[in-house]
């Protein structure tokens, strides 16, 4: 008889939901410590500044939520599409499309009061995202063109459109900078606390999390989406109109990404610049994955990424480490978590093998 180890597939125990993220964070910090040491800084000081410093004052803790707001929305956008098996990698472009339309509304209808112009900007943002996601969605559904490729290419096209607007028709005539005219004062989103940038966009994001959770987990549409995502042919056999389901998921996803753009314009920037996103759409994919395609999980993940991105500015300022450390940490966290998600389904078990020879 010979003792051996066997890897067995078992369902994840309940405690793993808590333990896995913690272990993933620890492993991530261990790996990225190498980079901190290479920069000649103390890793403990770095991670203290990453995690603890941002939460140590009210202003910076609220700043974490400011950073998390667009990430919650892009994270939900990606969650929605991925749940239905539609791989929308175009949240970045859709976010800009929403920001463009929202900015236009914001600086065009200057005589409208807040109560009208803000909902109008939000609607414009959603519309922008939906329109920009329409082309890849239709190509996918009607002509079976791979949506991953088209949404990626559409991101590049959108960046050029924004660059054209900012250097051409929208260029600020006073400063000459590549930035759009300011939106009207009435279009500025109300802030929630004095001395903080946290604005009503955060509440909108939280509401979107709740609605997305109910839609995905508790409605017939959500059931159809999950079925299509699990197996397209299976869903078709079950009589689900997969084309329609996928189109809905794709457009809702685009709309939420566009909403993120409107929220950033109305709550933070008040004009369009080409750096409003800097990868928020791509980070949405990280957020959705860390939240294992659960809207509430995505909300929590977005806040953690918001913490890291607030922290990375502190780390850079205090320790002189390049600010990109924050990006390295969040992307390492994504990969480590991906690995952990898989490992949670497996258990190494000692078994006895009888040697026949």
């Amino acid at each position: 008889m010979l003792k051996q180890f066997k890897i067995e597939r078992v369902p994840a125990p309940r405690w793993s939901v808590i333990v896995i993220p913690i272990v993933a964070v620890l492993v991530t910090f261990l790996v990225s410590s190498i980079l901190v040491i290479l920069a000649g800084a103390n890793p403990f000081a770095a991670f203290f500044n990453f995690i603890v410093t941002p939460l140590s004052s009210q202003v910076s803790a609220l700043e974490v939520l400011v950073k998390a707001t667009p990430l919650i929305l892009t994270g939900i956008a990606v969650t929605f599409a991925f749940t239905a098996g539609y791989f929308n990698i175009g949240a970045e472009g859709q976010l800009y499309a929403g920001a463009v339309l929202a900015t236009w509304v914001g600086f065009t209808f200057t005589s409208l009061p807040s109560i009208i112009i803000i909902p109008l900007m939000i609607a414009a943002g959603i519309l922008g995202g939906v329109l920009w996601s329409l082309i890849p969605a239709i190509l996918k559904i009607r002509l079976k063109v791979d949506e991953v490729v088209t949404t990626l290419l559409m991101n590049s096209v959108m960046l050029y459109i924004v660059s054209w607007l900012l250097n051409g028709p929208w260029r600020n005539p006073l400063s000459g900078w590549p930035q759009s005219p300011e939106i009207s004062a009435a279009a500025h989103f109300a802030t929630l606390f004095p001395k903080s940038r946290l604005h009503i966009g955060f509440l909108i994001a939280i509401a979107v999390v709740a609605i997305a959770y109910i839609v995905i987990k508790r409605t017939p549409l959500g059931l159809k989406m999950r079925a299509a995502g699990a197996s397209l042919t299976g869903a078709r056999f079950a009589g689900i109109d997969t084309t329609r389901t996928m189109l809905t998921a794709a457009l809702v996803s685009g709309g939420i990404a566009g909403l993120a753009g409107a929220v950033e314009i109305g709550g933070i920037h008040f004009h369009l610049i080409d750096a409003i996103s800097n990868g928020l759409g791509y980070t949405g994919i990280i957020v959705a994955t860390l939240g294992s395609l659960n809207p509430i999980g995505a909300g929590v993940a977005a806040m953690f990424i918001g913490l890291i991105s607030t922290g990375s500015q502190t780390v850079s300022r205090v320790l002189g480490v390049p600010v990109y450390l924050g990006d390295v940490v969040q992307n390492t966290l994504l990969l480590v978590t991906l690995a952990m998600f898989l490992l949670q389904n497996y258990r190494i078990k000692r078994v006895r093998w009888i040697l026949l020879s």
Binding site: L35, L38, A39, F87, I89, L139, L143, K144, V145, D146, V148, V149, T150, L152, L153, M154, N155, S156, V157, Y160, I161, S163, W164, N167, G168, G279, Y282, T283, I285, I286, T289, P322, V323, Y324, L325, D327, V328, N331, T332, L334, L335, L338, A339, F341, L342
Partner: protein, 303 residues
């Protein structure tokens, strides 16, 4: 008009070079059944590593070698997630792109500091062949790497279609269960394909930083990797068609640069979007009958 066309052809070949490397790299991965969305980051990482090593050692060839090695490492990382662990290929590939991009930016700042002037090196020079001819001279005055890229196309075709190794790669991409049953190691073959693919992608990135530009900028790849992902579908996973796709994209890019120069009353961004729009249209028209390797996106697990 002659100089216009001559210049256009020369520029087309130059623009197509990194795309040929990248797409051939992706071809290896996808033929083995792995969609490698790490390509954008791998090209960026290759461009950075090539430049950093060339700048610090003073040897362009060492830079090139380091870039290839960095690409192989990137391919192995992709293999760890997409092959060994069997993680969703879309997410792991994008994760690797994001990680390698961030890692390159971090290391660049660490090595070269925060200076506002981009450091530059004396990159590879264009070869001078037929330099006395006003037509052939400019067309053939390309970087050695451009010639290598074009020569790689038949070579990759030969490897994929005519060698035992190529047959094995195609087999794991079409039917890993049968390949496994035939006694071949699926994990090892896919890992090998990703390593070769990564090396080629990084070479494409390094062409930009140590030949064409002689410097490393943050926008150096700016979506070229995604274009390769489109070109491979357009090329129907066949090496020879990779050439046509790359030349088409290169041609439209070169044409838009020249149209900008003509002083037409149109914003130059319209021209910049042209290659992407043409790629989407080409994909829609030409990619519809494309036949992806059957096992693509499906992780293989022995049960």
């Amino acid at each position: 008009m002659d100089t216009f066309i001559v210049g256009l052809i020369a520029a087309t070949l130059r623009v197509a070079t990194p795309l040929i490397f990248g797409t051939l790299g992706e071809l290896f991965c996808e033929r083995a059944g792995i969609l490698n969305l790490g390509i954008e980051g791998t090209m960026f990482f290759g461009a950075f590593t090539g430049f950093a090593v060339a700048a610090s050692t003073g040897s362009l060839w060492l830079g090139l070698l380091a870039a290839i090695l960095s690409g192989i490492l990137a391919g192995l990382l992709m293999s760890l997630f997409a092959v060994k662990l069997g993680v969703n290929q879309h997410v792991s590939g994008l994760g690797i792109t994001l990680l390698l991009t961030a890692l390159s930016l971090y290391s660049f700042r660490l090595i070269f500091g925060e200076s506002s002037v981009n450091p530059s090196i004396e990159g590879f020079q264009q070869l001078s062949i037929f330099s006395s001819s006003p037509i052939l001279g400019p067309i053939f005055s390309q970087y050695l790497l451009t010639y290598i890229a074009i020569a790689l196309i038949p070579l990759v075709g030969w490897v994929i279609y005519r060698t035992n190794f190529g047959l094995q790669i195609r087999a794991v991409g079409e039917n890993p269960e049968a390949t496994d049953a035939a006694g071949l190691n699926v994990i090892r073959l896919r890992t090998l394909a990703l390593a070769i693919g990564g090396g080629l992608m990084a070479l494409g990135g390094a062409f930009l930083s140590i030949a064409q530009l002689g410097s490393f900028t943050f926008g150096i790849i700016s979506g070229r990797g995604w274009v390769c992902i489109a070109l491979i579908i357009f090329a129907n996973w066949q090496p020879i068609k990779v050439l046509w796709g790359s030349l088409l994209f290169g041609g439209v890019s070169a044409l838009q640069l020249r149209l900008q120069g003509l002083g037409l009353d149109m914003p130059y961004e319209v021209f910049l979007t042209l290659p992407y729009i043409v790629t989407i249209i080409a994909l829609t028209l030409g990619g519809r009958n494309a036949q992806a390797p059957a096992a693509m996106l499906k992780p293989y697990r022995r049960e």
